[in-house]
C-alpha cells in the first residue's frame, strides 16, 4: 500500500495525483475530471504520504494549507480586536491598578471586559505570540513539504506525456500538422525565450520556472524577519530608554555606558503663516497653531577610557548636533530621537530687596533655581543669605518647610536679609504666592521682578541590532513575492503522432492571457491547430440558458 504503480510502469509515492513520469491520472477523482489539477504538478505532498507517529501527525497538521490559512485568519481577527480600545501603552496610566481603573472609568463595562480578557495588552500576550509562532511553524513545514516534491518533479520532467495528461490541460489543441510543424514551433518558441527540449516526436517548451520558487523564497524571508524579531529579546540586541533632559543639564545616557548628553537648547517652532508660509494661512486660521519643528541642540560627550561613572571632569566632546524629528542623533550603533517636550519650567527668579514703606530698592538679586548660591551681595553692603531652598515647596512639617520633588515647580526660599538699616538681619519665607515673616513684621522684603524659564526635551534612546536581520528578511520576502507574482511559469507540450496529427497542451501557473498571446504567435508562425480554453468551455456549458 506504500506506492502507486502507473500503467506506464513508474512507481509513484502514495498520494500522487498525476504520474510523475507520464502524467496519467492516478486517482478516481482525477480520472473523472475534465481538467487535471496541476497544483504542485500533481505530486504527493510529503506529509500526506506518511502518517505514523505523533511527530508525523503534528507535522501533517502544520503542513496543511487549511491550517495555515486558519492561523492567518485568527491572527487577523485578533489583531483587529486589539484596536477596538487603545492598548495599554497608549493609555495615561502605568501601574497595573491604574490601568485597570482607567479602562473601567473611561470605557465602562466594555472597558472592564476588555481589560479582563487581557485585550489591553493583546500583542504581547502569550497566546498572540504563540499564534505568530504557529504561523512560523506552518510556514516552514508547509514550504518544505511542497518544495521538495515540486522541485524534484520539475527537475525530472519528461518531454513526452501521456495523451490523457495533455487533453486534460486547460489550453489544448488537436489537429493535423505538417512535416515541419515541430521545427517551426521550436524555432518560434525559442525566439520567445522558451527553453525547448525535444524527445523523439515531441517537445517541451518552458519559461520562467524560477517563478515557482517565489513562494518558498518569500517564506524564507518571513522566517528571517521573525527570527530577527525574536532576537531583540536577547540582552544587548535592543535598547529602548526615555531620557528627559532640561536645558543646561548634562546627563548620562541610559543604557549607553560612557556617553553623556548635554541639552544646550530646546526649541519649538510653529508656522507663522507669513511670507513663504502664506499659502498655509487658511489652514492655520482653522486649526490654530501647527508645529513646524521640534529641535534639541545637544552636545554628545564621551568619558575617556578607563574613567568611572561619576567622573565628569574630563568628558570629551564627540559631536554637536541638532536632534530633530526625522533626524535622530546617531552614534556607535545607538540613535537618539526627539520624541516629546515640556515648555517653561522655572530656571531663575529675580527679586528686588525693597523697603516695605518707601518702596525704595536696594538692588536686585537673581537666584539660579538649579544651582543657588549661599548668599547674595547687594550694593551698600546689603546681603541676602539663603537659609533654605525648597524647589517644590509643599507645606510645613514640624515647622520645617518641605519639598515634594527636586524640580523648581513652586520654589520656596528661607532668606535672611541684612541691610545697613537692619544689621541684625530679618528673616522671611518667600514663595511665588506669598511672603511669611516668621519673627514679626520686617522693614524689608524681596519683591519678585521676573523669572527665566527653561524647556525640557524628551528623548528616546534606541539601539536595535536586529534591524539588519529584519531588513534582510524584508528584502528576501520582497524578492520572493516579486519572483512568484510578477513572473509566471509557462509550458507547452507538443506531440506529433505517427499519422501526423498534432497534440498541443499549454499550462501556466497564472496569467493565461499572456500564455495565449504567446501561443497565438506560435500558432500563426507554425500553423498549429486552433486551441481551446477548456475551462472557459466548461463554464459556458454550466451557465444557465437565458
Amino acid at each position: 500500500m506504500e506506492n502507486l504503480q502507473c500503467q506506464c510502469g513508474h512507481v509513484n509515492p502514495l498520494g500522487t495525483k498525476l504520474c510523475e513520469s507520464c502524467g496519467r491520472s492516478l486517482t478516481d477523482k482525477e480520472q473523472n475530471s475534465k481538467l487535471v489539477d496541476m497544483r504542485y504538478e500533481g505530486t504527493a505532498r510529503r506529509s500526506q504520504t506518511y502518517n505514523k507517529s505523533i511527530i508525523d501527525k503534528i507535522w501533517n497538521f502544520f503542513s496543511s494549507v487549511k491550517v495555515g490559512v486558519s492561523i492567518i485568519v485568527i491572527l487577523l481577527v485578533a489583531a483587529a480586536l486589539g484596536t477596538i480600545l487603545p492598548q495599554q501603552a497608549f493609555v495615561p496610566a502605568n501601574t497595573e491598578a491604574t490601568i485597570k481603573a482607567y479602562y473601567a472609568d473611561t470605557y465602562g463595562s466594555v472597558g472592564r471586559v476588555y481589560h479582563f480578557l487581557g485585550f489591553h495588552d493583546l500583542y504581547s500576550s502569550y497566546w498572540f505570540i504563540a499564534l505568530v509562532g504557529m504561523l512560523a511553524i506552518s510556514l516552514v513545514i508547509a514550504s518544505l513539504d511542497r518544495f521538495v516534491p515540486l522541485y524534484n518533479s520539475l527537475k525530472n520532467q519528461r518531454v513526452l506525456r501521456h495523451p490523457s495528461f495533455m487533453e486534460k490541460q486547460r489550453v489544448y489543441a488537436q489537429g493535423p500538422g505538417a512535416d515541419d510543424t515541430l521545427q517551426k514551433t521550436e524555432a518560434k518558441l525559442k525566439e520567445l525565450k522558451y527553453k525547448v527540449r525535444t524527445d523523439k516526436n515531441g517537445l517541451l517548451a518552458e519559461k520562467g520556472r524560477f517563478s515557482r520558487w517565489g513562494p518558498y523564497v518569500n517564506h524564507i524571508g518571513l522566517i528571517i524577519f521573525l527570527v530577527g524579531v525574536m532576537l531583540r529579546m536577547i540582552p544587548g540586541f535592543y535598547v529602548d530608554e526615555t531620557l528627559w533632559i532640561r536645558e543646561g543639564e548634562t546627563r548620562a545616557i541610559p543604557e549607553v555606558p560612557g556617553y553623556s548628553l548635554e541639552n544646550v537648547k530646546f526649541a519649538l517652532e510653529t508656522y507663522t503663516g507669513e511670507g513663504e508660509e502664506a499659502r498655509f494661512g487658511e489652514a492655520l486660521d482653522r486649526v490654530g497653531t501647527v508645529a513646524k519643528n521640534y529641535q534639541t541642540d545637544i552636545v554628545l560627550y564621551q568619558a575617556p577610557n578607563n574613567s568611572l561613572p561619576g567622573e565628569t571632569d574630563n568628558l570629551e566632546v564627540v559631536k554637536e548636533y541638532p536632534i530633530r524629528v526625522n533626524q535622530p542623533l546617531k552614534f556607535d550603533g545607538y540613535a537618539i530621537y526627539q520624541m516629546d517636550y515640556k515648555l517653561n519650567e522655572l530656571k531663575t527668579m529675580t527679586f528686588a530687596l525693597t523697603d516695605q514703606e518707601t518702596e525704595e530698592s536696594l538692588g536686585e538679586l537673581t537666584i539660579d533655581l538649579i544651582d543657588p548660591n549661599e548668599s547674595y551681595e547687594l550694593k551698600n553692603g546689603s546681603t541676602v543669605k539663603l537659609l533654605g531652598y525648597y524647589p517644590n515647596f509643599s507645606g510645613f512639617e514640624n515647622g520645617e518647610p518641605q519639598t515634594a520633588s527636586p524640580l523648581p515647580d513652586n520654589p520656596g526660599f528661607l532668606v535672611k536679609m541684612t541691610t545697613p538699616a537692619t544689621p541684625q538681619g530679618e528673616t522671611s519665607f518667600i514663595t511665588i504666592q506669598n511672603t511669611i515673616e516668621p519673627f514679626g513684621p520686617n522693614q524689608y522684603k524681596l519683591t519678585f521682578q521676573n523669572a527665566e524659564m527653561r524647556n525640557v526635551s524628551g528623548l528616546t534612546v534606541r539601539k536595535d541590532s536586529t534591524l539588519p536581520i529584519l531588513g534582510l528578511g524584508g528584502l528576501i520576502f520582497m524578492i520572493g513575492v516579486a519572483q512568484g507574482m510578477y513572473f509566471n511559469h509557462r509550458r507547452f507540450w507538443l506531440q506529433q503522432t505517427d499519422s501526423g496529427d498534432i497534440l498541443l497542451a499549454g499550462h501556466t501557473n497564472k496569467n493565461w492571457f499572456g500564455l495565449k498571446k504567446d501561443l497565438d504567435q506560435v500558432s500563426a508562425y507554425a500553423s498549429l491547430p486552433a486551441y481551446t480554453d477548456q475551462q472557459e468551455e466548461t463554464e459556458k456549458e454550466g451557465e444557465p440558458q437565458s
Binding site: 506518511y50 507517529s53 511527530i55 508525523d56 503534528i58 507535522w59 504581547s124 500576550s125 502569550y126 505570540i129 504563540a130 509562532g133 504557529m134 512560523a136 511553524i137 516552514v140 513545514i141 518544505l144 527570527v227 525574536m230 529579546m233 540582552p235 543639564e249 548634562t250 546627563r251 548620562a252 545616557i253 541610559p254 543604557e255 555606558p257 553623556s260 568611572l308 561613572p309 561619576g310 567622573e311 565628569t312 538649579i370 544651582d371 543657588p372 548660591n373 549661599e374 539663603l386 537659609l387 533654605g388 531652598y389 524647589p391 517644590n392 518641605q402 519639598t403 515634594a404 520633588s405 527636586p406
Partner: protein, 178 residues
C-alpha cells in the same frame, strides 16, 4: 527504506523542537519574565568615583576590604530623611569596624545638599551624582535604594524603601569584614 524513514522522523522532530523552543523562549521573555534588572545580588558592584561636599574623591574600589553601604537619596525623599539619623548613629558604631557609608545624592545642587547635611549634622560622606551616571550604572529607580557591597566588592543585597534601625544594624553586620 527504514533508515530513510528514521532519518525523516529525526529531522522532523529536530525542526519542531527548535521552533517550539524558539517560541517558548520568546513567550518567556515577552510575557513571563519582567524587564531584566541590570544589577543582581552576587554581581560585582560597578566601580564609581564621586566627590563629596569637602571636595574629597570617593572611589568604591578604594574601600576594598571594607563593607560599603551605598545609599541613594534626595532631599525631597521622606523615607531618606527618616533613615538618615539612624544611619548616622550606626555609622558611628561601625565605621571603626570597617563599614563605610556613601550617601549618593541624585543630581541636586551643592547648596541644597550642604544645607540639608549641615542641618542634620550628618557625619558620613555625602557625594553628588551630578549627571546621574552612577544612578544609571546601578539602574536605580525608586529612592531610597541601598546597595550593600561586601569587602570583596560584591553586591550582597539591594534594598528599596525605608529601613528601620534594626535593619541597618543587621545590614552593617552582614558586610562587616571578618
Amino acid at each position: 527504506m527504514a533508515t530513510k524513514k528514521k532519518n525523516r522522523l529525526f529531522m522532523r522532530t529536530a525542526i519542531l523542537l527548535v521552533m517550539v523552543g524558539a517560541i517558548a523562549f520568546t513567550i518567556y521573555n515577552g510575557v513571563i519574565k519582567e524587564k531584566n534588572e541590570l544589577l543582581q545580588v552576587g554581581d560585582q558592584a560597578p566601580d564609581f568615583a564621586l566627590t563629596d561636599l569637602n571636595g574629597d574623591r570617593h572611589q568604591l574600589s578604594d574601600y576594598k576590604g571594607q563593607g560599603v553601604f551605598v545609599n541613594f537619596w534626595g532631599t525631597w525623599c521622606k523615607p531618606c530623611e527618616k533613615e538618615f539619623p539612624l544611619m548616622d548613629r550606626q555609622y558611628q558604631v561601625y565605621k571603626d569596624q570597617g563599614v563605610q557609608i556613601l550617601a549618593v545624592n541624585i543630581a541636586q545642587s551643592d547648596y541644597e545638599v550642604r544645607q540639608y547635611a549641615e542641618q542634620r549634622n550628618l557625619t558620613f560622606p555625602i557625594v553628588i551624582d551630578k549627571d546621574k551616571s552612577v544612578m544609571e550604572a546601578y539602574n536605580i529607580r525608586p529612592l531610597p535604594t541601598t546597595i550593600l557591597v561586601n569587602p570583596e566588592g560584591k553586591i550582597t543585597k539591594i534594598i528599596t524603601g525605608e529601613m528601620s534601625e534594626e535593619d541597618i544594624v543587621s545590614y552593617m553586620e552582614e558586610i562587616k569584614p571578618e
